[in-house]
């Protein structure tokens, strides 16, 4: 079988390149096509009629249309991980080596055992599932649904990770033109010549729309040639961007349109380039020139392979040089069908009959064709391919292709995406856009009901000129291209009655006229109910060929007019978009940015285990040979730091430089405790409250000079604190002379802690008296380190040991960590990670995000004394609400298991001995736990009702989730060096 249905090149060369043959496979059958073919045109040229099985009844189906409206010919393209189901053969551009398989059948396509479903069709009408699978309820999920899903459906996924790449992007223009048919090209010319920035996009790979499928003449040349000439002129304009293979799939707010550009779908391999790009197009104005889609007529057995839209039959002949049959019949209620007959006949294709339900004179004489006016096709025969049609006058005729035209429906989809509702136009028997279009959107051409060529060209030209003039451009004086208007006359004729067989309305969802009538009979008369009860128009084609037909049949059944019946509206996307395209490049590690600390490279060299902390990657611990578990490393780091000295990269903590003559006064407002009188060269711990009095962050702030403070925040809240302070600066205290700037990334900062920290730092810091008197606890200074590098030094401690934090510009961070390690070598210095940091802070009783969880006040953490009553600060007043300072409120405590071998778990609830673990008996919870190598047991922090007065009590830590119940002793949260002598030493 090889191109037996290709029309002789002399009669119809089409737009294919017959010197470029291509080989492809469909269900393992090797076939041939040419460059310029679609998969559908190539299969038709090879005589392949049966290409799919229907969704519900598994009926044999063939190619129905020639565009993205295709309801039948859905195939799986490519193989393995590249396999993509539900691809329309009518838009798949043929390439050499293309592989396609049919879908939704068991056994071979020709002998689908699921076609037995068709025999049961009398029982499977609309609402069947809703009525039948009601009981027993337990059967639905495990029995009914799997069976239904397995028998009815579309293609299947490869279940492998998609190896293709996708990308996204942003485009901008004065005028976006959706559709490059006659009206779109005419509009682009007018707008482009005015100098406006134009983007014209079309889903086809050959631009021109129906000009490529018709025998039109424009300005004395063929429509296709005019389109090519126009495109060449547009391509030469710097202000015009042409996007072929690009579907405008959605109209969103503020003139933003979603577009999918298929970059490499037409190539055997995408290489390392993205397969598709999802564009967000920002337009000042959009002109929708989306054309119109032909629809069918419902009659008995109108779904057989070989029954197609008449316009598609014409397109295959004109554009691809393919005869869709050897004996082609036409059934049409409008002049478009006659055009198909004339043009095919002129190309030597045998037209057996033209059947027109209109009682008028024949529109044309077609040699050899039986012309039947005032009649209809009422039945067809041919299980896997059409071979005979029966007319209402009793006549039977042989035909292997029946072109049907029930009229053309304007493509109004993009006008509906913001709830625009189309209105009925009797003249064209179709819905046209209503008045409530998205802001900045205009419609032209067939999409607006201008159904003839001359009218479409003129409408595009006029609309574009009007738009660009409004945008401030001067219209070109060039006139619109001249073309004749073809005849366009239609009789509203929707379906053939007087039979009991099924007549399909929605081929993709297997919805018949009977289903629509049943919906009406059962009370689902509203179009919205009709859609949901029958699934009319709900498939991947969104009912492009079926919606109007369904509404018309419903209108007839209810005795209403179509305008009275109304229509459903469309939502994005216009055509299916791969989920991968919405994800774009943001897969795996590309999903979010990663922040690295200045010592990351060094830590990596040490074999550090990293942990994600927000976007940061922080060293969690530093394993050493011989470590059996992570705990070995963490215990070692804690012990070594407490015994000698350790170093930790704390650059991730938020750092905010605060400058200005009112900086101190501003901080006095931000922090609950006083800051106005912090001396220069001193650091103070601060507590920050939300407006409702809840603590949300804490940290230290150093006064580097009279008008310069350096604040540290927790890593997690760096942005939140900065944002809140910036809000306060701009909106609450706009008259203060204060300025904030984030310096988190500017500085590499290392905590050096432990009894030998001073000795190590003395080797690092230049010319600073490091004695306790010279640089005491909570001191700070601008310094130089390592012989002149500018830096900052803080005497602060999170571990409870004597400790320093030293900061240098980030570019020196890598060198500084190496110098600190060298300087500490004689003291057996250890790097420590976030786990050891966490252990030491729990031992010391310092709170972090685990404690400040959005419910906790200063009172709860025993710091109510830090909410100054001598000044006003954000959150201070509401923190004093009666219930927030009540005696029965929870208070921060330390907790140790009575049996030192017991473990603790964060989230465990405090329960009094001998009481049931109920909500009523809940006394509080454990917020942080760790194994303390210092105490040689698990310890924790938590919140206990009246906890500050219960030190020494034995209660239970009950964890219903993990199934533990541990006797614990309540202790001071400051378990390690409670007097603080070490850190001050």
């Amino acid at each position: 079988m090889s191109n037996n249905f290709r029309i002789d090149v002399k009669k119809s060369a089409g737009l294919i390149d017959r010197t470029q043959p291509m080989t492809f496979k469909f269900n393992s059958k090797t076939m041939h096509g040419f460059q310029g073919d679609t998969l559908a045109s190539a299969m038709l040229a090879n005589g392949e009629r049966l290409v799919a099985r229907s969704f519900k009844y598994h009926r044999p189906r063939g190619i129905f249309s020639a565009g993205s409206e295709e309801p039948n010919a859905l195939v799986q393209l490519r193989t393995g991980a590249y396999q993509e189901p539900n691809t329309r053969a009518t838009t798949a551009e043929l390439f050499d080596g293309l592989t396609a398989t049919s879908q939704n059948h068991r056994g071979p396509l020709g002998f689908d055992i699921m076609s037995a479903t068709d025999l049961l069709s009398p029982f499977l009408g609309a609402g069947f599932y809703y009525k039948t699978f009601m009981w027993p309820a337990a059967f639905w999920e495990k029995l009914y649904e799997p069976i239904i899903r397995a028998s009815a459906g579309l293609g299947s996924l490869s279940m492998l990770e998609d190896p293709d790449k996708y990308d996204k992007g942003f485009l901008h223009c004065d005028l976006l033109i959706a559709g490059a048919g006659p009206s779109g090209l005419s509009a682009a010319l007018a707008a482009g010549r005015s100098g406006a920035r134009v983007i014209i996009a079309d889903e086809d790979f050959v631009l021109g729309g129906r000009l490529n499928a018709e025998n039109h003449t424009i300005a004395g040349m063929s429509g296709h040639d005019w389109a090519q000439q126009t495109l060449a002129e547009l391509a030469a304009m710097d202000n015009v961007r042409i996007l072929p293979r690009t579907t405008i799939f959605g109209a969103y707010d503020h003139g933003i349109y979603g577009a999918l550009e298929r970059k490499t779908d037409h190539l055997p391999h995408a290489g390392d380039k993205p397969r598709q790009v999802l564009w967000r197009i920002y337009s000042k104005h959009a002109l929708i020139c989306a054309g119109a889609t032909e629809r069918s007529i419902a009659f008995a057995n109108n779904d057989r392979p070989g029954i197609m839209l008449a316009g598609a039959v014409r397109a295959y002949a004109n554009r691809w040089g393919v005869a869709t049959g050897k004996q082609v019949a036409i059934f049409t209620n409008n002049d478009s069908g006659w055009q198909t007959a004339s043009e095919l006949s002129a190309k030597g294709v045998n037209i057996t009959a033209i059947i027109d339900p209109r009682d008028t004179a024949p529109r044309a004489h077609i040699a050899g064709a039986t012309i039947v006016m005032g009649a209809s096709v009422c039945n067809t025969a041919g299980r896997k391919a059409l071979h005979r049609i029966t007319l209402t006058n009793g006549q039977t005729l042989n035909a292997d292709c029946l072109g049907v035209s029930g009229g053309w429906s304007p493509n109004v989809h993009l006008t509906c995406h913001q709830r625009g509702r189309p209105v009925w136009n009797d003249d064209i028997a179709g819905f046209v856009p209503g008045g409530d279009l998205p802001v900045g959107q205009t419609i032209a051409g067939a999409a607006n009901g201008d159904m003839t060529l001359g009218a479409a060209l003129s409408a595009g030209h006029k609309a574009a000129n009007g738009i660009v003039k409004e945008l401030g451009f001067t219209n070109s004086r060039a006139q619109v291209a001249k073309a004749d208007d073809e005849t366009f006359a239609i009789k509203q004729f929707w379906h053939v009655t007087g039979h009991k067989q099924r007549a399909w309305i929605d081929l993709q969802n297997d919805v018949t006229t009977k289903d629509v009538k049943q919906s009406q009979a059962e009370g689902f008369k509203s179009v919205e109910h009709l859609k949901r009860y029958t699934t009319l128009g709900m498939a991947t084609d969104q009912g492009k060929t079926s919606n109007v037909l369904g509404l018309a049949v419903m209108a007839e059944a209810t005795g209403k007019t179509i305008p009275e019946t109304g229509t459903t509206i469309f939502r994005p996307p216009y055509n299916p978009v791969a989920v991968g395209a919405f994800g774009g490049r943001e897969r795996g590690q590309h999903f979010h940015p990663t922040r690295l600390t200045p010592s990351h490279r060094w830590a990596d060299e040490q074999g550090a285990q990293f942990v994600e902390v927000g976007n940061w990657m922080r060293a969690q611990w530093f394993p050493k040979q011989g470590d059996k578990t992570w705990r070995d490393a963490v215990d070692r780091e804690v012990i070594q730091t407490r015994a000698s000295v350790g170093v930790c990269d704390v650059s991730t903590l938020g750092k905010i430089d605060i400058k200005g003559t009112d900086a101190a006064a501003f901080l006095n407002k931000m922090y609950s405790n006083p800051f106005a009188k912090v001396p220069v060269g001193r650091v103070r711990y601060g507590l920050m409250l939300r407006e409702d009095g809840i603590c949300y962050d804490d940290g230290t702030t150093a006064r580097m000079s009279e008008n310069h403070f350096v604040m540290t925040t927790t890593t997690a809240n760096a942005v939140l604190v900065y944002r809140n302070m910036e809000f306060a600066r701009q909106c609450l205290f706009p008259d203060m002379d204060v300025h904030l700037i984030s310096t988190t990334d500017q500085w590499a900062q290392f905590a050096v802690a432990g009894p030998n920290a001073r000795a190590v730092m003395a080797k690092i810091v230049d010319k600073v008296d490091m004695s306790n008197d010279g640089f005491p606890f909570m001191a700070c200074a601008d310094v130089t380190v390592c012989g002149g590098t500018p830096g900052r030094l803080f005497r602060i401690s999170f571990s409870g040991e004597i400790a320093y934090e030293v900061a240098v510009p980030a570019r020196y961070g890598d060198a500084l960590i190496r110098e600190i390690m060298d300087a500490g070598a004689e003291f057996d210095i250890t790097p420590y990670g976030t786990e050891a940091l966490g252990v030491m802070r729990v031992e010391k009783g310092h709170v972090t995000g685990a404690e400040l969880d959005g419910r906790i006040t200063a009172f709860n953490v025993n710091m109510n004394g830090m909410v100054s009553v001598k000044k006003d600060s954000i959150g201070a007043t509401l923190s004093r609400r009666e219930m927030m300072v009540a005696e029965n409120q929870v208070r921060l405590v330390g907790v140790k298991p009575v049996d030192k071998s017991d473990t603790l778990s964060a989230g465990a609830h405090f329960i009094a001995p001998d009481t049931a673990p109920t909500t009523q008996n809940d006394l509080g919870w454990i917020s942080s736990v760790c194994y303390s190598p210092h105490f040689e047991q698990h310890i924790g922090l938590g919140f206990l009702k009246g906890g500050h007065k219960r030190h020494g009590e034995i209660i239970r830590a009950w964890d219903g989730v993990r199934g533990t119940d541990v006797d614990v002793e309540i202790v001071s949260p400051h378990m390690y060096d409670p007097e603080g002598g070490l850190q001050r030493g």
């Binding site: 920035r197 300025h739 990334d745 080797k763 390592c786 002149g788 590098t789 980030a810 300087a823």
Partner: protein, 184 residues
């Protein structure tokens, strides 16, 4: 004690990708000048006198001989100038106490993407309209690229400076580099 050596966030990355060149700019200081309350006029004069430049606007940077001024927010100006040993002190010599000065050199990574396809590459990650007729020479915009706060500056024909946080420099480079590769 050895003097500390410097590293740049991207170790001086410099690559040609298709017809584009993508490189890290690591020989410039970046200093933030905060305008004291009601001190706009004084700073404007100081910039004129000390740097010989005009105040930038929110959308247009001021470009001088190897120095560029960016208005990064209503009361903040960034000075991008050749690297010195002590950036804050150097700029203070020029403008005195007309602004609060903060070194931001290490807080940012600066990339330069240049070449005929640079706009096509940036279309993939930058939502700012970079059309030559719209985003003219020396224009700047604060925006986001791949979730990262960034600044884009048109610094020459088909050339753009791209700034983002230094801690996520590798992610930022990856985003720009991948875009360039996708269009080359």
């Amino acid at each position: 004690m050895a003097k500390l050596s410097q590293t740049s966030p991207l170790n001086g990355y410099d690559q040609h990708i298709g017809d584009m060149r993508l490189r890290e700019i690591h020989d410039m200081d970046l200093i933030a000048l905060a305008v004291p309350h009601k001190g706009g006029t004084k700073l404007k004069r100081a910039i004129k006198d000390g740097l010989g430049m005009s105040m930038p606007t929110a959308v247009k940077s001021s470009s001088g001989d190897r120095t560029r001024l960016l208005m990064t927010q209503p009361d903040q100006v960034f000075v991008m100038s050749p690297r010195t040993a002590q950036a804050e002190k150097t700029i203070a010599k020029s403008i005195g106490n007309a602004a609060y000065i903060t070194d931001q050199t290490d807080a940012w990574v600066v990339l330069e993407l240049s070449g005929p396809s640079s706009r096509a590459a940036l279309e993939r990650i930058c939502q700012v309209d970079l059309n030559a007729g719209v985003f003219k020479l020396n224009q700047m915009a604060r925006t986001t690229m791949e979730h990262m706060g960034s600044i884009v500056i048109h610094n020459g024909k088909d050339s753009f400076l791209l700034m983002s946080g230094s801690s996520s420099a590798a992610s930022f480079l990856h985003a720009v580099e991948l875009s360039a590769k996708h269009v080359s």
